[in-house]
């Protein structure tokens, strides 16, 4: 197990390893992985931000 993988494999290896036992949350009937919750949370944040953040007003009308 100590042999190093070939160079391209090392270059392409992910610094954050998401393999390994998954993390899950439970509320009553709801079970969700932390990963999915993060994705859904980011989507909601992006949606709310897209609506609330001011859109730059372009130089005057044509």
């Amino acid at each position: 197990m100590l042999t190093l993988p070939p160079l391209p494999a090392r270059l392409l290896a992910a610094p954050i390893d998401l393999n390994g036992p998954g993390h899950y949350l439970h509320w009553g009937v709801i079970q969700i992985s932390v990963a999915n919750l993060v994705v859904i949370g980011l989507m909601l944040i992006a949606f709310v931000a897209a609506i609330l953040l001011p859109f730059p007003r372009k130089r005057g009308r044509r």
Binding site: A13, A50, F55, R61
Partner: protein, 227 residues
Amino acid sequence: MSATEHPTEHLAEHLDTHNWTGALRRRALRELPPDRLLPDSQPAYMSSWIYLFGVLTVAALAVVIGTGCVLALKGPQWWHLSSLGHYVNSMHLWSVELFLAFMVIHLWGKFFMAAWRGKRAMTWMTGVVAFLASIGTAFTGYLAQQNLDSQWISTQAKDGLNSVGIGAYFNVMDFGQMLMWHIVLLPAAIGVLTVWHLVLVRRRGIVPPIGAVPPEDENTSEKEDRP
């Protein structure tokens, strides 16, 4: 064309050809003149970040297709055996996550804008079908992975499909069939739906705000702005 025809008949024919090709061209130009297909200006009310999610969905679809094509170049085994292949597979997976996330945010946005108003119902419906087709494409992609995921997903999903009779024709445990759906049929469907969706958007233009009235009726000084 016979030699006995009067010269002016030729002229008339040329100006207003009654053949299919001419009719198609005239129709296309009427429905979608170049300045509507690729306008260099947009209605003043198009001023929100939410409008970006449609084009982000298009962009993510381009990356999904691009990375999928690289995987296709090397064949279905490649990504299990090569670290470069695995990296391309990772790109394919993450671009799919982005594609669906952008699309769903786009859907939320269009819903709250009631963007089906003013003869845009077909735009909405092509969007919904594209959404369902994308879910099917992602699903068949999971089946084409050739790993534990594919084994489990196929043996589970078969029950749902069998229960309504689809499984008899769409066999999720047939790797060859699923790979074909994933890389040929469903992407083609998404491609057609996307082009159709975008053409519809351009033909009607971006939907006006709910209750908005063109300034002409509002009696402001912006009359000269209208095309």
